[in-house]
């Protein structure tokens, strides 16, 4: 076995290994029950609702929307959709847009929920309690002595939306007026633990009817609010998304995503509109050195600064937990820090046992809440599952017809060689199908109708690689090489062409994928994928198979039906090297050299004038040999094709 055939076999083994790996992995996925053999389908094929939203800032807003705000909007929408019980919703960003894909036919309420704007509210905390609902609806809110701290953390694992751990509690200090807190950690701990909450029952009943004197008054805890408080179950995911924001001028109850505590709060005192922006960074002590922790810095606008000054002035003097204020985003308390000092300059910072990620997340949530943002519905599309199934079926039929036509055409054009095209297309198809199924399992890729169109178009582009290659082989045969040498020469040249043209095609696909929205993406993805697979198949299948086929009698001898018959390609005589030629069907197997045969011809020509003309003709018709004429005839000793690279020099 020559080196070349060995290489060819090795390539084929590699290809087999890749295919086995793809389908093996998929089989593992199917057996473990996570994957399926077929790719997941996008909404336009499976049916469902797609809503494209664009976040729009209100007029006159100074902020800008950046990626973290988009991510935040997505997470808010996701929480709402999850809470509404819709399974397998997909919410992604594409460029500046948010694409919400809901399977099936979602009800109108769910759809309305998606486009609702998220609001940020600052409310004074009145009560902090145990997450589970209380059945006795009076003052027993505080009877939570038996509440193990473990309970919130247990619920943490049950919550699909992981939030900062329960230990994250915050204190609030000013940058401007450093008022050293005696023992922040102690205060923080108290704030977090429900058992520390006071028992306001007496006051509640007393003052319920009375007009509350300020926002921190227990008078806000009306009977309705207390009933809500009792009923609220902070161990249920539902209560972490899509809740109404409540009346801004009334008491409100909500769950804290930070520590899963249940809070009752007073009316809204500061809103997201009053907040300019928020950021996070390493915490600094009063001496200016880093403490090693992280903090979240809030920056209020002038109006907000005044309001916030009032709030902090009042809260700083109150007992725990009324010295806390709750930051509520979209109906969920994202933080409820203790006020440690009066803050008048509009710059506050929240610190606590934050990790860097937690601090960043909180800052992003605040920053998002500060945006005067509304979500504009750009496109609202419902595809019924019957229509989707219909489209899928017809798309597949179209693909199949296309494939059959391509197969027939290549058989007509290339005869037996057409089977190589068909086999290559089948291998490419199998690889593409496997990879798409894998991606649909691993990355949640969904095949859309535009994606299927991309696949069908790819049939043509993939088949073209083979055409480029085969035409090159024929060109080399026309130039008089043996098949083995022609395959070799054609490959080095066709490879360049295939690689550069596929590179351009891939470039197009990647650019489209990155920049485009909606259906274009699905299309670009399959186009790019098939381009890569095309290169793999040509390298690891088509070429090695050609190398091996060139050594078979059927192809190597140029059988009439092989598609590589030199006689049909205009070469009646074929130079075999070392002065030997092989002529066409009439070729006499006389073992004469070229010169000997020429001599014989000349001798015959002397016999008759007609014959003389025939001999003269080829020399007249001889194409002007380019300067490398000698090279072609000398180089192609057919048993050393691999060394013959002169044509490329």
């Amino acid at each position: 076995m020559s080196k070349v055939t060995k290489g060819a076999r090795r390539s084929l083994i590699w290809l087999a290994a890749i295919l086995v790996a793809i389908y093996g992995l998929l089989a593992v996925g199917v057996l473990t029950g996570n994957a399926s053999w077929t790719p997941g389908l996008a909404l336009d094929l499976a049916g469902g609702r797609q809503i494209i939203l664009t976040p729009v800032l209100d007029e006159g807003a100074t902020q800008e929307i950046d990626q973290s705000d988009l991510d935040q909007a997505v997470s808010v929408i996701r929480q709402r959709v999850d809470a509404s019980g819709v399974a397998e919703a997909e919410i992604t960003t594409q460029g500046n847009n948010i694409v919400v894909a809901l399977p099936g036919t979602p009800d109108d309420a769910t759809v309305d929920l998606v486009a609702q704007a998220a609001q940020l509210q600052f409310r004074p905390v009145l009560l902090v309690g145990d997450p589970s609902p209380t059945t006795t609806d009076d003052e027993t809110v505080t009877e939570s002595d038996e509440t193990p701290v473990a309970e919130p953390s247990a619920s943490a694992s049950a919550t699909p939306e992981p939030t900062p751990s329960a230990s994250e509690v915050a204190n609030l200090i000013t940058d401007a007026e450093p008022e050293p807190s005696a023992s922040p950690s102690a205060v923080l701990l108290d704030a977090a633990v429900p058992e520390a909450s006071p028992s306001p029952s007496a006051e509640t009943t007393d003052e319920a009817a009375a007009e509350p004197e300020d926002a921190s008054s227990f008078a806000w805890l009306t009977e309705d609010v207390m009933a809500d408080y009792a009923a609220l179950d902070c161990l249920d995911v539902e209560n972490y998304g899509g809740r109404t924001m409540g009346d801004p001028d009334a008491g409100y109850v909500a769950c804290s995503s930070a520590d899963f505590a249940k809070l009752a709060m007073g009316p809204v005192e500061v809103t997201g509109d009053d907040l300019e922006t928020a950021s996070s960074g390493p915490e600094m002590s009063q001496t200016g050195s880093f403490t090693g922790g992280y903090e979240v810095r809030l920056q209020f606008n002038s109006e907000g600064a005044a309001k916030f000054a009032d709030v902090t002035t009042r809260l700083v003097g109150l007992e725990d937990p009324r010295n806390q204020f709750a930051i509520v985003l979209d109906g969920v308390v994202i933080s409820h820090p203790v006020v440690q000092s009066r803050i008048t300059n509009g710059e506050a910072s929240i610190s606590g046992n934050f990790t860097q990620e937690q601090a960043e997340q909180l800052a992003n949530q605040l920053k998002f809440g500060a945006l005067p943002l509304s979500l504009e519905v750009q496109s609202n599309q419902q595809i019924s599952s019957t229509l989707g199934a219909d489209q899928l079926e017809k798309g597949l039929i179209a693909g199949l017809i296309g494939l059959v036509l391509v197969a027939l055409y290549s058989l007509v054009q290339y005869r037996a060689l057409g089977f190589v095209t068909i086999a290559s297309l089948i291998i490419a198809g199998a690889t593409t199908f496997g990879v798409i199924s894998l991606l649909s399992w691993g990355l949640g890729y969904r095949l859309s109708l535009a994606g299927i169109a991309g696949l069908i178009v790819a049939i043509g582009i993939t088949a073209d690689s083979f055409i480029v290659y085969f035409e090159r082989i024929r060109d080399e045969l026309r130039e008089g090489r043996s098949l083995k040498s022609a395959v070799d020469h054609a490959w080095t040249r066709a490879r360049r062409t295939i690689l550069i043209s596929d590179a351009v095609s891939l470039l197009a696909a990647v650019t489209l994928y990155i920049l485009a929205v909606g259906g274009v993406r699905g299309f670009a993805f399959t186009l790019g994928l098939t381009t890569v697979i095309d290169v793999i198949v040509v390298m690891l299948f088509t070429h090695p198979v050609m190398v091996l086929l060139a050594r078979t009698k059927f192809f190597g001898e140029g059988h009439k039906w092989s598609g590589l018959d030199p006689r049909q390609l205009g070469r009646d005589t074929m130079y075999k090297g070392r002065g030997r030629v092989r002529t066409g069907a009439a070729a006499p197997k006389d073992g004469l050299t070229l010169a000997e045969r020429r001599a014989a011809e000349r001798k015959a020509a002397e016999g008759g004038a007609v014959a003389a003309d025939e001999v003269g003709e080829p020399t007249a018709a001889e194409v002007a040999a380019v300067n490398d004429a000698a090279e072609v005839s000398e180089a192609d000793a057919d048993d050393a094709p691999a060394n013959d690279r002169k044509g490329d020099v």
Partner: protein, 361 residues
């Protein structure tokens, strides 16, 4: 057919038969120029027919109805949104499509229910598509941005690969030619432009360049040793490249167009309008014109552009001078044109071609 195409390919390869495409480039430029002018005039005067995705609006598709007529839909629309003028079409065999202007959320839902009732189908089998008025603009803008970035990138890649920016420029011009032509066809026929059409347009980008690059690669190969030979000019070798890749170009376009044609067929006659048809239509036109442009526009243009390169000018002058003196070793046809083609090895050149030793008879 195969045998014919094969023999034809042989003749093209050997130079026995040559289509003087590069030599007659003025003719092809004129044809393309006129077509482009028509396309631009059509686009300016008649304009494209944007679908609701670009204008904003609402569209319903009611599948599998028992009586595919427009009347029930008209009644339903007249009842709920009397100021709207619905465009109602029957898609395929039994699907009804209703297109309206922008509706608010409540009307949209009411109409959904009304359509379901009047056609007696379950409400959730109705598909609808509600597009805000600004969405199309942003999609269009994204596509345009994508196009510009893509063109820049591709210009860089091609220029680097062929080491000739003029080749890249010619490829891009051919690409714009294809896009303009396809857009012109859309303006002429009044086909609706939907996001799927845009996908089709963007694919034309990839395909047109792909095809051009294949031809250019042959040009590059033929002219790689340009300076070390003085038989043929650059233009002649480029023309040879076109002729030699002609069979490939035909095969490729047939193979690429077959699947597209099958989508187009299924899309228009079985499914009615939709994503598949819109993509396929743009692709069909674009691919056909893409093959044309890589042969008749890109390469001749490339020759024209590179003709201004000093090295090539000098070389051409030298070759022509040599021919004038009769010193060039080229075959001349009966009509006086120089036969440019691959050599025919395996035929003895005669003893006169053998190297001669001086001082020996």
């Amino acid at each position: 057919m195969r045998a014919n195409l094969g023999t034809w390919g042989n003749k093209l390869h050997s130079g026995e038969k040559t289509y003087p495409i590069v030599a007659q480039r003025r003719r092809w430029f004129a044809i393309s120029g006129v077509l482009m002018a028509i396309a631009i005039i059509l686009l300016l005067v008649k304009g494209l027919n944007p679908g609701i995705d670009f204008t904003g609006g609402t569209q319903y598709v009611v599948p599998d109805v028992a009586n595919p007529t427009a009347a029930p839909a008209e009644e339903a629309v007249a009842e709920i949104a009397p100021d709207q003028e619905p465009r109602i079409t029957v898609l395929g065999e039994d699907d009804i499509r209703v297109q309206l202007g922008v509706l608010d959320q409540d009307d949209q839902r009411a109409l959904n229910a009304a359509l379901a009732e009047s056609y007696d189908v379950p409400e959730d089998s109705i598909s609808f598509d509600q597009i805000g008025p600004t969405w199309g603009a942003s999609v269009g803008q994204a596509a345009l941005q994508g196009l510009v970035i893509f063109l820049l990138l591709v210009f860089g890649v091609i220029a680097l690969y062929f080491r000739a920016w003029r080749m890249a420029a010619a490829a891009i011009v051919a690409l714009l030619h294809d896009l303009l032509f396809t857009a012109g066809i859309y303006a002429l026929s009044g086909f609706e432009v939907t996001p799927a059409t845009v996908i089709g347009f963007l694919t034309i980008l990839g395909y047109s360049l792909y095809d051009t690059v294949v031809v250019f690669d042959k040009v590059r190969e033929n002219t790689a040793n340009l300076q070390s030979q003085h038989r043929y000019t650059y233009a002649e070798l480029a023309n040879l490249a076109i002729n030699q890749t002609l069979v490939r170009s035909i095969n490729t376009s047939v193979v690429a167009l077959l699947p597209v044609a099958s989508i187009l067929f299924i899309g228009s006659f079985v499914l009615g309008a939709g994503t598949l048809k819109d993509i396929a239509l743009a692709l069909f036109v674009g691919m056909a014109v893409g093959t044309f442009s890589s042969i008749f526009v890109a390469t001749p243009l490339e020759v024209s552009l590179r003709g201004s390169e000093k090295a090539i000018q000098e070389h051409t002058a030298k070759v022509l001078a040599l021919r004038e003196q009769g010193g060039a070793d080229v075959a001349v046809r009966e009509d006086g044109t120089v036969r440019v083609g691959a050599l025919q090895p395996g035929q003895h050149q005669g003893v006169t071609s053998q190297p001669k030793r001086k001082g020996r008879k």
